[in-house]
């Protein structure tokens, strides 16, 4: 079976799919899922919001994300307001009263603009989520293909390695590695990363997320390996690489797309946890995780400082998860139908965390 064969959709009204290719059919199905579309739009809005960070910083707030304003005073409606009081209390949200400066207030006793840091912090969080997602996908697809295709001892070695990785207390090891890399950086051959490099958390997160992605890929490859089209390809003299990349990989596309969206969401949560615990993004740079840490200390007097980045993480992760679900339903509708038929309930499966 090739990817075109798999496009047959038992949930699709008969005759309505005539003449459409598999991807177009999937797009039609996805667009019919209004919740998924709404959250996809929300995700794009979040991306647009963080991409607009330099515009807001330069033209509205007139400050960078790491610039401190501890002793600065704002003139608001004829009134002088201190960015940080002598007792160390940062100013609250000013909305547009100060021309957009300190729109969400100051982040801490250092008097940095919370809104600017939120936008730049979002860029960092998303960058880490996407970059680590890509690395995870690359590693997981390679390992999944090798394990599923070769089986035998290759499968055993890869499978047990993934089991070991899965059985580790991920967060604790992530923290230990994150802190160790933050102090000493990373040097492997020509690859050299300084302690504060954003690539340190990306690498840590990527590695620990591989099992969550590689296992379903391996399972899918095992199932596909039994199909006639693979046997036909082998009979025609195709080598292992050709079978893996020309026959198996195209048939894994839907699984990869779905898991990629979900793994970005998971990795963003992982980054937030690592940064909250001081092992992720290093100061003075911000990510939504580090902003929660800073805000946590002022939770009783300035709760918004922790709540706003928390809500941003929640919305981004939620939108990615719902979009991921929508993509899975659109690309492989049988999985949904089979699951509902088996259990009688709507499927709520998520990538394990």
């Amino acid at each position: 079976m090739n990817s075109a064969n798999r496009a047959t959709d038992p949930a699709e009204p008969e005759g309505s799919s005539a003449g459409y290719g598999p991807w177009r059919l999937a797009l039609r199905r996805f667009l019919r899922n209004r919740v998924a579309v709404a959250f996809l739009i929300l995700f794009f809005l979040i991306v647009a919001f963080v991409l607009a960070a330099p515009l807001w910083a330069n033209h509205v707030a007139h400050t960078g994300p790491n610039e401190t304003h501890t002793l600065e005073k704002l003139h608001v409606n004829g009134e002088i307001r201190e960015v940080v009081t002598p007792e160390g209390k940062p100013i609250g949200p000013q909305w547009f009263e100060a021309g957009g400066k300190f729109f969400l207030g100051a982040d801490s006793r250092l008097g940095r603009d919370e809104m600017v840091r939120l936008m730049y912090g979002g860029r960092t969080s998303l960058l880490i989520g996407v970059a680590s997602g890509l690395i995870t996908a690359l590693l997981a697809i390679s390992l999944g293909l090798l394990a599923g295709y070769y089986r035998g001892w290759v499968d055993a070695v890869i499978g047990r390695t993934l089991d070991v990785l899965w059985s580790l207390p991920v967060l604790l090891i992530g923290i230990a590695l994150g802190i160790s890399l933050a102090v000493g950086g990373l040097k492997i051959g020509p690859l050299e990363l300084s302690g504060g490099s954003i690539w340190n958390p990306i690498i840590v997160i990527s590695i620990f997320s591989v099992p969550y992605f590689a296992r379903p890929i391996r399972g899918e490859v095992l199932a596909l390996g039994e199909k006639e089209f693979v046997e036909a390809a082998v009979a025609q003299g195709a080598g292992p690489l050709r079978v893996m990349f020309s026959e198996l990989l195209p048939n894994l596309a839907s699984t990869i797309i779905v898991f990629f969206a979900l793994i970005i969401a998971n990795n963003m949560l992982f980054e937030a946890a690592l940064s909250f615990l001081g092992a992720g993004v290093q100061p003075p740079n911000s990510s939504w995780g580090t902003m929660i840490t800073v805000g946590e200390e002022l939770l009783t007097t300035q709760p918004l400082l922790a709540i706003i980045p928390g809500v941003m993480i929640m919305l981004t992760v939620l939108s990615l998860n719902i979009v991921g679900d929508g993509l899975r339903d659109a690309l492989d509708p049988r999985s949904k139908v089979a699951f509902e038929a088996r259990t009688g309930i709507a499927e709520t499966e998520r990538a394990p965390v």
């Binding site: 401190t68 002598p86 801490s108 933050a182 302690g195 002022l298």
Partner: protein, 552 residues
């Protein structure tokens, strides 16, 4: 001594300049430290933000530890039970009287008070003192360097065998004679530290935090659960023996105390307000500080100044900070007023090595904040290397002070990289000279004892530069300063010496190895059940347990 560890706890061995803030001294001749109006008895419920580094007198080197054990283990000399300068006075502890100093300041002779007993009933012997000093070296205590000037101690520290020939004792007469290699003006202060408080001969040479050895004070530890808490009760042999032998030492009002580690300072504040705990050892978190101060100051809350200096060090042996102009530029650029806000007003700006309250302190301001002047100086210096790494730890607000400092250096034109390390191992990492890129960073220093030498000898002399456990983060090694510190260290502290330390303070700051920015204040916060007036905040041991009393 350095700020010890993560969390809100702050290592503060001193609060001398608290004159007038504590209305009832309570030290001296009374056998009770009652502030009056209180009642005797009751169990005090205390909360700490973290468990002390050790519950072992020879090992502990943090305020939590000294505060926890200050009245469990009494040294030969001790500090007067009083606040402010009164509490900085060294007085006899287990010794009958102050040491007789002879042989040009190299021989100290003391006599043990007769009839003293440990809390397990064993008699205290003069020979227990050298045993305790040897134990200090055997367990590799952080306090060892204070006692290496005793004849033979340095060798014992290396071999851990053969005893220390510089300490001679006579159990019959109670005589203890200590011979030093050279005069040491701070030695009486050092004999007043808990590091050398006697413990019974035979006490194991290992960390006894889970099973602390018997002591000689009015209270004894009955239970210790490292990481969780500990309990103390009255020492039965205090009433029977020790209080008679040393009547000027307070007996205490409460019958005992239960200490619980509560890691969340917000919870600690709530629990004090609700009366679940009677006293919190660490200050309220910055977020609650103003609220607590406004609501409870004078009744349940009191600010306690410390003798401490918070500063940014600059590595004087490597570019760009090997140029004095660059260091001076940094001093002009750092604004203590901004850092006062970063510390929520819990720091008072200063720009010198010696903090207020320390003998020899006289206020001066060599580098009033001036960013333009800083930039001019830096332009003149034109350093070849503008890439620097800035170090700080994770403990708030020190982490924010580090971020502020990094911002200042960036504004000056440096290419900066900030490294924020966990507070638990920060000083170990920056104290290891093989750690790469130790250019500049944050640190603090609280007095070990009220003597200005304690701010120069361990921090700013060539001999204090060590490959590991280095305390001279600036690697400052100025021969003239080394000579003066060494000479002053041999003299007893009197007015003439104080004037010399004052000059030394200025001389060092002209070389600007540090950019000091403030001295810290701590606080006493008690529940409404406690008589705040009675609580004495000691310059060496924090709040004295014997000074607590419940209100009528």
């Amino acid at each position: 001594m350095k700020n010890p560890r993560a969390g809100v706890s702050v290592l503060a061995v001193a609060a001398v300049a608290a004159l007038g803030l504590v209305s009832c001294g309570g030290g001296g001749s009374s056998s009770s430290s009652s502030g009056g109006g209180g009642k005797k008895g009751g169990i005090l419920n205390v909360t700490y933000a973290s468990f002390p580094d050790y519950m072992d007198p020879q090992l502990s080197y943090t305020q939590e530890g000294w505060s926890a054990m200050g009245e469990i283990y009494i040294p030969l000399l001790t500090y007067k039970h009083g606040a402010g300068t009164e509490g900085a006075e060294v007085v006899p502890g287990l010794a009958k009287e102050p040491p007789k100093i002879t042989n040009g300041g190299k021989t100290y002779t003391l006599f043990l008070r007769p009839g003293l007993k440990y809390s397990d009933g064993k008699p205290v012997k003069a020979s227990d003192f050298p045993y305790s000093v040897e134990r200090l070296f055997k367990v590799n205590s952080g306090g060892s360097p204070f006692y290496t000037s005793i004849v033979g101690a340095e060798q014992f520290a290396e071999t851990k065998k053969g005893g220390i020939p510089g300490i001679k004792t006579n159990d019959k007469t109670g005589e203890i004679r200590i011979e030093l290699e050279k005069p040491r003006g701070t030695f009486s202060n050092e004999l007043g530290l808990m590091f050398v408080a006697p413990v019974p001969r035979g006490t194991p040479d290992e960390d006894l935090s889970a099973n602390p050895p018997p002591g000689t004070g009015p209270y004894m530890i009955t239970k210790s659960q490292p990481g969780r808490g500990w309990e103390v009760e009255r020492n039965p042999y205090w009433e029977k023996a020790n209080s008679k032998a040393m009547p000027e030492y307070p007996t205490g009002n409460i019958d005992g105390a239960k200490f619980t580690v509560v890691r969340n300072p917000q919870t600690q504040v709530n629990d004090i307000e609700q009366g679940k705990f009677d006293y919190m050892e660490n200050p309220p978190p910055a977020d609650r500080y103003t609220e607590v101060k406004e609501q409870f100051e004078g009744t349940q809350f009191r600010i306690e100044p410390t003798i401490s200096t918070y500063y940014f060090w600059m590595n004087t042996q490597e570019p760009p900070f090997n140029d004095v102009k660059v260091r001076q530029a940094v001093n002009y650029a750092v604004d203590a007023a901004a850092l006062e806000r970063v510390y929520s007003g819990q720091i008072k700006g200063t720009q010198q090595i010696l903090p207020p309250g320390m003998p020899g302190y006289k206020k001066f301001e060599l580098y009033p904040h001036d960013m333009n002047k800083a930039k001019e100086l830096l332009k003149e210096a034109n350093p070849s290397d503008m890439n620097i790494t800035v170090w700080t730890d994770t403990e708030s607000p020190n982490n924010e002070a580090g971020e502020y400092y990094e911002g200042v250096l960036k504004e000056l034109g440096f290419n900066t990289k900030l490294k924020v390390l966990n507070a638990d191992n920060y000083f170990t990492v920056i104290g290891n000279r093989s750690t790469p890129d130790l250019d500049t960073g944050w640190s603090d220093w609280y007095q070990d004892y009220p003597h200005p030498n304690d701010f120069f000898q361990p921090l700013l002399t060539g001999e204090s530069i060590l490959q590991t456990n280095n305390g001279n983060f600036a690697n400052f090694n100025e021969p003239a300063v080394n000579k003066e510190v060494s000479e002053l260290g041999e003299e007893q502290l009197e007015e003439a010496q104080e004037a010399k330390y004052e000059g030394l303070d200025k001389k060092v700051m002209e070389q600007a190895p540090w950019a000091p920015y403030g001295t810290r204040t701590l606080s006493t916060f008690v529940s409404s059940a406690i008589n705040l007036e009675s609580v004495i905040y000691s310059p060496t041991f924090g709040a004295y347990l014997t000074s607590f009393e419940f209100s009528e």
